[in-house]
Each structure stands twice: as structure tokens, then as C-alpha cells.
Symmetry: C2
Subunit: 112 residues, 2 copies
């Protein structure tokens, strides 16, 4: 099952089944430029990234909110590695539910 959580199970926030995510939720998540920046960083990273390694033009608590919205919209998976909260794009699952959408959006130079 794709929503299996890895490591630090008790601290891992719940992840929605991506099949329950609506286009409305996805658009509300991606209409925010900071959230698009996060998705962009995760898209081009070879591995998951901890929250702290993604430079964002907002406060830490605002950043946490943005990660939360992305998780709720099925775009990212979060898990702990030691004390670091890691973030990975749910790329394959997302592609299955929203074929071509991320590619079409990220093809734009003004994506993020």
C-alpha cells in the first residue's frame, strides 16, 4: 500500500489516500507560490529533503503550514529520520491520479 509510513511511526502525521483527493484541493494547494516552490525543490531533489534544507521566504511556522497543506492535498509524504522531518513528493501516485498535471505546470519557467 502506497500510504505505508516509514520510520518513527508514532510521530508521522496521517497521509490521505490520494484517490480521495479532489482537483479542487490540488489547485488550492498549488495556487500558492511558496507551496509551488516546495514542490519544485522536491521534484528536482534525488531524495527526500528535510524541512530545514528547503529555503523559503517565510517564517518557520508558516513553512510548517505550507508543508501541512501539501501533505493534506496528497502531494507530499512526510516521515521522520532521527529528529528531522523529511519530505518527499508522492510523484508516482500523484501522476496516476492527475496524469500530466505536474509536468504541465512545472514546464512553465514561472512555476516557482
Amino acid at each position: 500500500m502506497a500510504t505505508t509510513q516509514r520510520g518513527g511511526r508514532e510521530r508521522v502525521p496521517p497521509h490521505p489516500d490520494i484517490r480521495t483527493i479532489s482537483l479542487q484541493q490540488v489547485l488550492e494547494a498549488l495556487v500558492d507560490p511558496v507551496r509551488r516552490l516546495i514542490v519544485s525543490e522536491l521534484y528536482s531533489a534525488p531524495d527526500a529533503l528535510s524541512c530545514g534544507t528547503i529555503e523559503l521566504p517565510v517564517s518557520k511556522s508558516t513553512a510548517t503550514h505550507h508543508f501541512h497543506v501539501l501533505r493534506e492535498a496528497g502531494l507530499i509524504r512526510q516521515y521522520y529520520m532521527g529528529t528531522s522531518r523529511m519530505n518527499a513528493l508522492r510523484r508516482d501516485e500523484f501522476e496516476e491520479s492527475f496524469p500530466g498535471l505536474l509536468g504541465a505546470l512545472m514546464a512553465r519557467a514561472d512555476w516557482a
Copy 2:
């Protein structure tokens, strides 16, 4: 030039050059479900549609606002035919600037 306006020139509102439209503007336009409904109707219509022929779950003035936002985001072209304000999707121009985006979005059953 693609932005040439047809008919009733003096009453035709200005249309932006689609190359000046940002992804941010497009996402802000399409995040609204009523605006997606308008785009959907225009997408599947063989010809331009007058504002009154698109059934929307909002008041006339709210509908006018939604058409305005879509026009400003480069998604639709408006022109007069007699006393009717007609609306057409700028499909080819939009596809050139945002390849694959409308198709990826409208493939979703919950698009509108």
C-alpha cells in the same frame, strides 16, 4: 494578431496578450469551481456562447465577475454579437503558452 477583436469594437473589453499571462494568474482563475464550469462549457461547445446560455449557480453580477477574471487570465475572448456578449475559449493560444495544462485538468471527472 491573435488579440484582434471581432465585432462591436467599441464595446469589446480589452484582452491581454496571452504571453504576458503568468501561471499564477491562470491558477488563481482556475481555482474557482464556477470559473472551471464556464471553461468546461466553452471547451465542449462547438461555437462561442453568450453569457446567458451558460447556466451558473451564481447571480448575474457574480457571473459577470467570473467572466472578467477568465478574460484577464487570457482564458476567454469576449465580443459582442448584436446585444449578446459572446464568450469563446482562447484554446489554441492558451495551449501554446500552457501546453497540456487544460487537457490535464479537464481529464479529471471532478474538474467542474
